[in-house]
């Protein structure tokens, strides 16, 4: 191969390259640091690298979409998803700072893996080739398996990592098998080539549908669609909460981005065949997610099921399968990043207060409004946004996705989606009720516990998230303009 080709359009992957170089620098610094010191430095460095990555994304924003080596593209959609992932990455690093002891000892490993996960996720949003798609998926999956088990003092953390790994590897095999079938069907691993071959009557069309079915399993696992969702609550609960916050947003953004691009550039001619099963999956996912969330006592598990339900909402955009729907999904993910990470951050602050159990029971929230007035108010805003109350960000995410689906003729699906939102209000509201309208059960015990203020970086994350949720809600048009769909 001509080496000159290697550099043509390499700017497409500028943010990934910046981060890759950054990871190497980070590891060098880690080798150089002495003993226990320097963990803060590593955190600062990671944030700087991620901010550079955001800078790089902004630099290439608005360029005409170009493809790099038949493997990656930088259209508006890829950039939007990158932005979501990078923001989730920054907030995730800020939350991890000081969070658990292992970070003090192995900060280099933790932050490197964190950045590698970000790279993999971003790559997935740009992939235009089955091979790149698969590699991207594995890069961030492997990093996340390890990150989930990073809180080694906690048996649940390791168990979560183990479960995530076994089930994730299991789901990946279906994904790979699906890739192989799709390659066999289209004679190429390039999305556009597959589409062309099949559209002109070539290839083995009979392999396409089984291929889609198997690919769906892999994607469905990553974004936690029912019935591939079972791992989600266990892993979200067991993983260190900062990691959960980051991956709940990053994984969804990355997998949905890859999913969208694959389905809509490689397989648009099969839309009629895959739309209906996806619609059924969306209904199942929303309904099971919301109903199960009603019965959770752990805040993290509740948020896990809420995440499942939100995945169902975003899936509606894919069912619609239009460019407008993909930009709606990008907007949804953008809004979701702030409100979900915000909710997890408040959870982290409460964990600190109640003995660092890496989880908080909902009953612990009783009377939280009095002890943590600012955090409780922020949590209330995140809950209202997650349940889709206007004019907060979450409402417009849902609104745009539903609107795109109605336009594409999926009104019945939207009806079910709106009904599900009504159900979801119940469990989000329960958090608000607990914080504001309930008294702590053992008032005496609670009062005796010393007050542990939230760390400064958590407060920063909460403030940023609240501002974002409100500003996005007040000026949704601005962001909807910024966040583009496929091919835009």
């Amino acid at each position: 191969m001509d080496t000159a080709l290697l550099f043509d359009n390499a700017v497409v992957l500028l943010p990934e390259l910046v981060l890759a170089v950054g990871v190497m620098v980070l590891m060098m610094v880690d080798i150089g640091r002495r003993g226990q010191n320097g963990s803060q430095l590593l955190a600062g460095l990671s944030v700087a690298i991620l901010l550079l990555g955001i800078g790089a994304s902004v630099m290439i924003w608005g360029r005409a979409p170009v493809e790099y080596l038949d493997g990656a593209i930088s259209d508006g959609f890829a950039l939007s998803v990158r932005l979501v992932i990078l923001i989730a990455g920054v907030l995730g690093v800020l939350l991890s700072r000081n969070w658990f002891p292992a970070i003090e000892r192995q900060g280099g490993a933790f932050y490197s893996l964190h950045l590698l996960a970000v790279i993999g996720m971003m790559l997935m949003g740009t992939a235009t080739n089955l091979i790149v798609l698969f590699i991207a998926l594995e890069i961030f999956s492997l990093a996340l398996y390890i990150l989930s088990g990073f809180y080694r003092e906690n048996a649940r953390s390791i168990e979560a990592a183990m479960k995530y790994f076994l089930l994730g590897a299991f789901a990946s095999t279906f994904f790979v098998y699906g890739c192989a079938l799709l390659y066999g069907a289209g004679g190429s691993s390039k999305f556009t080539q597959i589409h062309e071959t099949l559209a002109t009557g070539g290839g083995n069309p009979s392999l396409v549908l089984p291929g889609i079915a198997l690919l769906l399993v892999g994607f469905g696992f990553k974004v936690s669609l029912v019935p591939f969702h079972m791992w989600t609550p266990d892993v979200y609960q067991g993983a260190p909460t900062p990691v959960t916050a980051f991956m709940s947003v990053g994984t969804k953004a990355a997998a949905f981005a890859g999913f969208f691009r694959l389905m809509m550039t490689a397989l648009p001619s099969f839309h009629d065949q895959w739309a209906m099963p996806l619609a059924i999956l969306a209904v199942l996912t929303m309904t099971v997610g919301n109903l199960t969330a009603l019965r959770q006592s752990s805040v993290k598990r509740m948020l896990a099921y809420s995440g499942i339900a939100h995945a169902g909402n975003i899936l509606i955009a894919l069912v619609a399968g239009t460019a407008a729907a993909s930009s709606a999904a990008a907007f949804y993910l953008f809004a979701y990043a702030f409100m979900n990470i915000g909710a997890f951050t408040v959870t982290i602050a409460l964990e600190r207060q109640y003995g660092n159990e890496n989880d908080v029971e909902q009953s612990r929230l009783a009377g939280a409004a009095e002890r943590f007035p600012v955090l409780a108010a922020a949590m209330a805003i995140f809950m209202l946004s997650l349940s889709g109350i206007p004019p907060l960000a979450g409402f417009f995410g849902k609104f745009l996705v539903f609107k795109a689906a109605v336009e594409a003729g999926w009104a019945w699906l939207v009806v079910i989606g709106v009904l599900n939102s009504a159900v979801s209000a119940y469990y989000y509201l329960r958090i608000v009720v607990a914080m504001y309208f309930q008294q702590p059960e053992q008032a005496g015990d609670e009062k005796e516990q010393p007050f542990v203020p939230a760390s400064r970086s958590s407060v920063f994350v909460v403030v940023v998230s609240v501002l974002a949720v409100v500003v996005i809600g007040l000026q949704p048009g601005l962001w909807a303009d910024l966040l583009r769909g496929l091919g835009q």
Binding site: L142, R156, I158, M162, L166, A169, G238, R301
Partner: protein
């Protein structure tokens, strides 16, 4: 030349064997072995498709994909075994039925 369908059937058989292992075994390492079989079944498919010319022969996509999957499978095994060791240290067992702290 051996027809394509034979390869596909072999791959499907291998995949099913792996699937059975992954679903039926309770030992984490045995599950991992099943998963490796399933990945290799996909590799057979990829190489067979390439050999039977679904695309241009000079385009080595099928082979390249298979090689990359082998590489990633190795990475996956490394991470997996490390996690299994971590679990073993904590629990003195690698039976997945005993991983039940997180549920409900």
């Amino acid at each position: 030349m051996v027809p394509l369908s034979w390869y596909l059937m072999l791959a499907a058989f291998l995949f099913s064997c792996g699937l059975y292992g992954a679903l039926a075994r309770r030992n984490a390492i045995a599950m991992l072995m099943g998963i490796e079989l399933m990945l290799n079944a996909a590799n057979i498919n990829l190489v067979a498709f390439w050999r039977h010319g679904v695309g241009p022969m000079e385009d080595l996509t099928g082979q390249a994909f298979a090689v990359l999957i082998i590489g990633l499978a190795a990475a996956e095994a490394a991470v997996g075994l490390a996690l299994i060791i971590a679990v073993y240290r904590e629990r003195r067992t690698i039976d997945v039925d005993e991983l039940d702290l997180l549920s409900g």
